[in-house]
Symmetry: C2
Subunit: 230 residues, 2 copies
Amino acid sequence: MENSRCENCIIRQFNSLRAMSKEELKKVSDSKTTKKLKKGEPLFEEGEKLNGVFCVRNGVSKLSKLSANGKDQIVKLATKGEVIGQRSVIAEESANLSAIAVSDMEVCFIPKESINTTLQSNPNFTLEVLRHMAHDLKEADDVIVNMSQKTVKQRVAEAFLYLKNNFGVDEDGFLMLTLSREDISNVVGTATESAIRIISDFKKQGLIHTSGKKIGIKDEKKLQDLVDGF
Amino acid sequence: MENSRCENCIIRQFNSLRAMSKEELKKVSDSKTTKKLKKGEPLFEEGEKLNGVFCVRNGVSKLSKLSANGKDQIVKLATKGEVIGQRSVIAEESANLSAIAVSDMEVCFIPKESINTTLQSNPNFTLEVLRHMAHDLKEADDVIVNMSQKTVKQRVAEAFLYLKNNFGVDEDGFLMLTLSREDISNVVGTATESAIRIISDFKKQGLIHTSGKKIGIKDEKKLQDLVDGF
DNA sequence: TTCAGAAGATGACAAATGTCATAGTACGCC
DNA sequence: GGCGTACTATGACATTTGTCATCTTCTGAA
């Protein structure tokens, strides 16, 4: 495949791999494999042993965990440039979350050996990974606060703004990343029916418009006000 | 103070400092200061710039964040052997959370310079810090799932079991760490009145007993069943 | 020791959210 | 093009949780 060497891959500019030396990157590139996934296919499931990490070249994956009541909670959406599975590889634990494609994806699989040897020898790389994880931890803490202190309506509004800011909109103004109502409810942590009701409500209030599953934001300011508690 | 050299400090066995070399540890020890805090006093507040990290020698601190509705959400309780503030120092950001003593505390303050130079030169240390943060991230993800998918009652029950497992019980069977009802509600993410009601309820059902603020667990199994959804 | 203020407890009610039932709608497959 | 299945939508109702008011109990400082 053309352009398939890590050294040339523009994606790595966005993640920790940029702190690798030329030689390290070469090794990674020689050991990596590329994989395509269709929407709905899993990269890995909760509890699985991971033999490496996944670097997202294209598409989006949801990271979720099944709770005792049988519902999935989506903890994070990972997109182009992000590395998935590094937490498990670093902690030498089996996966705490499932990773499932929510759009067609193209990912590189990097065996953990390449990662581990670099972690032990290149402090710059380790530090870079550490910085990324520090960032993820902050985001997770913020999610905890949102989950426990905001209403479902506020969380839905926030989710839409998040989707707009992180994945953008298409030429017709619809969110690029289209999630099913169920996925939306699993991001927000609520019943699917509740999410649907709130979406209907937002539509009636003129905050958003929809076409099938697609959602477009009409009044960003009012949505933001709602999130902020006005 | 006797025993105040990091090299001799048994606490460091529990945290990332154990991966430091003798010389690095010596430098840290020379630059550190020790501080005593009374219950209720802050180590630092959300938004503050941190010039170093705190290593807990004794006592417990709550890490919390104020949400828009004026309530604090407690994200984590840090105790003996844990290092507080490393996330902010590593990410070079101001503190995302406030750290306030929930019991009298003794902490060491380690200036960030000692940490940063070691991070850049000693991959073992960096990797050790990374592993700790990976662990924290997993815990945070689990909290997200609990917050969004469990009922308040389940979360209260879980909080009590957590307090027992992590801080133990005194000779009379009461939880060693005594939190105010408000702190409990801020851990669980609910209104104080709701937490109080649930505590009354648990008492009536014979799951716990109380004496003033102190709480003792009477039927651990039933509490666990409750958490698991039975 | 006493007293004031904080923390704990409880009732009554309102609001938010979940659950179950049912109907409409879209979309891939034959 | 039709059909079946999965997704979306909505109503009715139950349950959970929050809010406000009030009372009681504890605790620390004068």
